[in-house]
Amino acid sequence: MDHPHSPPTPGPSAPPAADAADPGRRDFLGAALTLAGGAAVLLAGAEAAASTEAHVPPPGGDAYNWEEHRWAYVIDTSKCIGCGSCVRGCKAENDVPDGFVRTWVERYIAGPGGSYVDSPKGGLDGFPPVPTAFTPTKAFFVPKMCNHCKETPCVQVCPVGASYRTKDGVVMVDGKSCIGCGYCVQACPYGSRFLNPQTHTAEKCTWCYHRITKGLKPACVEVCPTGTRAFGDMLREDDPVRQTIDHERVSILQAHLLTEPQCFYLHLDMEVR
């Protein structure tokens, strides 16, 4: 017959009546429940906050809607004269620190006997005449900058999410979040990034975001005297940059890495990496 108050079978475990002597377990369970409850409240709050995402307006207010643009860049290397106006213009526009460049120009001199590449100060003061050990048969200039890739290796590796790609296709660095670890600098295959020695954060070409969101062109495009550089909107059907990319033979840098850069080149040569 079952007696509710009969003593339980003695065993190695502590009898339930001895709970008072086992505060450890009770404390633990109590604390766990409190924490679980707190966590549930937290998560609910986070859910509520996240659910308002659908109603968040694009940054820039009424003046600029990033959903309406997909920026792209075209460089026709057959027109470049290596004057370096773009490098100087960019430096003046963006306060680029000495010793670093956000855009630069490379000169390639090639012949059957060899090849020579230089970029003195990124082309800031133009290029000097230079003797080569071999007989050159072709020479040309290649302007470069951040390619604002679709599959960015740099955004992928930023540990704190300071590097990001906007909806209109521009890759930028949040200077307030960047911890200056330099991982993105290592990850960029094009050498576009650097650590600013004054702000100690990562920096690079932003396609002059402060200009293009006001309907202006990037400074480098603005000052280029030969029409080498062109900037346009892939969402506009009649945009000349889109026409070029859609209909001409264009190339990209280091295509084998599949970073999907948005800077397209005309008349590139196999010497260019």
Binding site: G113, G114, V117, S119, A133, S177, C178, I179, L195
Partner: protein
């Protein structure tokens, strides 16, 4: 192949990842390697590692304590480094640092607590004043020294060591992934990178403990167990063979495939890295310890104790240099070659007094040993060997008697 005149991208001329970033994998290598030695006893029950198990665990913890310093010293904004924990970008291997470091630290601290719990309780009972308060807090207010509690301690230590082993491996392996996953840099980009880093870490940890065990034993006037030294040498030789095989394999593959990058990498190895790679990493740090340790392992029974111990220490020291060279060659070497693949940057030499300089690096290496000394003062490492948890939770010993004797 057309003759190449050196050209580096204009932004490529700076070596951003400095000596501190060489030190970081070096230190976490010790953390992982020391833990592997400790796990050889706690998880795999190798009795010959019992004398060195607690020392290994304490060493791992002391190196863990300084592991974040080289990173913070390198960052442009160390005051924001907590953002790695708060807003981690989950696609970044570097963001994994926050989770991996915290998790492994918790596991290690817990394991140390369980292994040393009896001593903590003993000191809590024996001391007075603030020391007593300190040990009482450490003991979390429980003074259970019964055989069942000790058996639970042993089991907990074993479980924690078993979880901690992959934790330690990941703490160091992810560093290899940080380099290996960078497709932009051909010297780094390789699936072998995390494996090489991890095996190299095992080498550095076992080498460090080979030296530390003998030094500490001498300082404490304890006997050096020949079995332990021989076992350390055996495992060291084993990991060294694996490490060197993989390191050489990587070079051989690159040279055989003769991809775009081999032209510049071979220049890198024969010019900028000639001393640190060929001389230090391969010959002085690789071939010579390989031979010396081979002698120790294969001719063990013919060797006098002193000879074996000395050969072990000598090889271990050379291996410490080898592992450092390997880290240097990868971190610095990878930045010396420009992404243009057409040139090498000028050689990097760290400043002496810089925030990321030589003196700081030396300090980072000395620091953990100071911490180890402090650790030993609080929780003696070579307390009583009977306290080192036996494998399989063997609770037939009477630890209570040993507590009184300790």
């Amino acid at each position: 192949m057309p003759e190449i005149t050196g050209y580096a991208f204009p932004n490529d001329i700076h070596v951003h990842w400095s000596l501190m970033i060489v030190m970081y994998p070096y230190i976490t290598g010790f953390v992982a390697g020391a833990f592997i030695v400790s796990a050889l006893f706690h998880v795999f029950g190798r009795e010959e590692f019992r004398p060195v198990a607690r020392l290994a665990m304490a060493t791992s913890l002391c190196f863990m304590a300084v592991a974040t310093l080289p990173l913070n010293l390198h960052l442009g904004h160390p005051e924001r480094s907590w953002l790695v924990m708060v807003t981690p970008n989950l696609s970044s291997a570097m963001a994994g640092f926050g989770m991996l470091y915290s998790t492994y630290l918790v596991i290690l601290v817990l394991e140390v607590w369980f292994v040393w719990r009896q001593e903590i309780i003993q000191y809590a009972r024996q001391s007075r004043g603030w020391k007593r308060a300190f040990y009482a807090t450490l003991a979390l207010g429980t003074y259970d020294t019964s055989p069942e509690a000790i058996a639970i301690d042993h089991r907990a230590a074993t479980i924690l060591a078993a979880i901690g082993l992959p934790g330690a491996c990941m703490l160091h392996g992810y560093v290899g992934f940080i380099f290996g996953a960078i497709k932009a840099n051909p010297w780094w980009s390789s699936p072998l990178m995390p494996v090489i880093f991890l095996l190299s870490a095992a080498v550095s940890g076992i080498a460090l403990l080979s030296i530390l065990y003998q030094v500490v034993a001498k300082l404490n006037r304890r006997a050096i167990e020949g079995r332990t030294v021989a076992a350390l040498a055996r495992w060291l030789w084993f990991f060294l063979i694996l490490t060197m095989t993989l390191e050489l394999l990587e070079i051989i593959m690159l040279a055989y495939e003769k991809s775009e990058s081999w032209h510049i990498i071979s220049q890198l190895l024969t010019t900028r890295l000639e001393f640190s790679f060929i001389t230090m990493q391969m010959v002085v740090g690789g071939l010579i310890p390989l031979i010396l340790l081979g002698v120790v392992v294969l001719m063990d029974r013919y060797l006098h104790d002193r000879v074996r111990n000395s050969l072990c220490v000598a090889s271990a020291f050379l291996l410490l240099l080898q592992v450092f060279s390997m880290r240097w060659n990868i971190v610095i070497g990878g930045q010396l070659l420009s992404k243009s693949f057409r040139g090498l940057r000028s050689p990097y030499s760290p400043e002496i007094f810089d925030r990321e300089g030589i003196l700081v690096a030396i300090g980072l290496l000395i620091g953990p040993f100071l911490l180890l000394w402090i650790f030993n003062r609080i929780l003696p490492i070579f307390g009583d060997d009977a306290h080192a948890p036996a494998h399989h939770g063997d609770s037939t010993k009477a630890p209570a008697a040993e507590v009184a004797a300790g």
